[in-house]
Amino acid sequence: MGPKTLSQVLRQVDFFTEDEDLLIGLGTADDATVYKIDEERAIIQSVDFFTPVVNDPYIFGQVAAANAISDIYAMGGKPFLAMNIVCFPSCLEDEVLVEILKGGAAKVKEAGATIAGGHTVKDDEPKYGLSVSGFVQRENILPNSKAKKGDKLILTKPIGTGIYASAIKGDLCEGGKNNPAVRNMLTLNDKAVDPMHANNVRSCTDVTGFGLLGHMVEMARGSNSTLTLYSDKVPFIEGVRDYAEMGLVPGGAYDNKDNFLGDTDIANDLDEVVIDMLFDPQTSGGLLISVPEDKASDLLIDLYANGVEEAAVIGEVTGEKAKVIVE
């Protein structure tokens, strides 16, 4: 659902969240819930599932799992347990579901976690995802609400998976492992976690359905800060611009524009195509990190050394009013 409708609905419900051990709940639109275990540790919990973004069921399973697990990394934690969520039509062969689940299991294993169960529902359209739990040392929790003026903003993966998914659906490119967007979605965000903790990162969120700009707006609101994005510094998946120019912009990008444009100041001369790409909803996107300026270069070096080779500084925190400036 879009963020506007969602917040309208949630506002009408009392979730009785007075429990003081609930460290992060619904309040700041964060990536996952964080609950205190003891003085040192907390548990992180998150759930995410969706309809196929690629045709290959094994790859879809992997992507859905990478996407669901990402919320744990975005909070600074490591996953340990996961449960499958499956919607599946009776008209499809069981073999398809086998492949989806195999893909999910492989990705969860790669992340060092265990699948302990799950639940299936009959549905017209297949959907798959996971509920994932992780542990985090409480001092290492990375909310999306602590960005501070002077911080540098780093993005760990290039943008463009939503537009690419349209191109794959439209048969304009193949959706196999060689597709740069598929490779991008298959990559776990695990390798960014230790470098973040080693370099005093203040805030982190993963870039998913609301697009880069939508998630920047949420970080700006949560942190009460102005985030400035240098659009020419944003890494895009190779070839995505062509597809965006061709009009393969998913409906979600237009929704994101409607929802978040009010909180953004976009330079007048900025190319329309770039704006579309900045609002493109991402699946299993990268992490958006707010790091103190004097630690930014060390963080980048650690990220590269750990294999997060496409990380880039894309902006900075420039003020204390909740908004996003795009230059």
């Binding site: 349209s166 060689n178 009009g247």
Partner: protein, 189 residues
């Protein structure tokens, strides 16, 4: 003139249908029922150098597209056309045997892509693909038959002493290679 009813269809269907229709028709009208789809179809028209106008009719959007460039279509360089640049006779770094298998698979798969690449350029040990790798040569011949331009670096063939073994494509020079790399999207293999 061709009319396309793309009501009720989600992205990317309206764009894909319009793109297909514009291949054979000078004028296309696409009807969609949401603004996002209308904007996407207009973007497609702009990208293809056609004129487009969106008219809101009741709850629908009609996009009238006039493809002025149709006549010059063949002269116009397709901005999605690609050049594949083969810098070695293996695909990727790792076991040589695997690299050999992968390059065969890669070229075979390339046959299935649409649009096909504009050119394939082979330099350094990449020239061994066009001289010795039988399975690869078979795929390359098919690609050449379909109009893909295959260029092998003359200096490189000379260096490896296999200039007379060229089984497919033509011998090229650095000037032509640089020119090609500059005028197309390049995929380095």
């Amino acid at each position: 003139m061709k009319k396309i009813n793309a009501r009720g269809l989600d992205c990317p269907e309206p764009v894909v249908l319009t793109k297909k229709a514009l291949k054979d028709n000078e004028e296309v009208i696409t009807i969609v029922d949401n603004k996002a789809a209308a904007n996407n179809v207009k973007k497609l028209a702009k990208k293809l150098g056609a004129e487009a106008e969106i008219n809101e009719i009741e709850n629908d959007y009609e996009i009238n597209i006039k493809n002025n460039e149709n006549k010059h279509k063949n002269e116009q360089k397709d901005s999605t056309a690609k050049v594949y640049f083969f810098k070695s006779d293996k695909l990727g770094k790792g076991a040589d045997e695997l690299g050999d298998v992968l390059i065969k698979g890669f070229l075979h798969t390339l046959l299935e892509t649409d649009p096909l690449p504009e050119k394939l350029i082979f330099i350094n040990s990449g020239v061994k693909i066009v001289t010795e790798n039988e399975d690869a040569i078979e795929s390359l011949q098919e690609l050449e038959d379909k109009g893909v331009n295959i260029l092998a670096c003359g200096t490189c063939l000379d260096y490896y002493g296999i200039e007379d073994q060229l089984a497919v494509g033509e011998i090229s020079n650095m000037y032509e290679i640089v020119e090609s790399l500059n005028s197309f999207k390049v995929v380095t293999v």
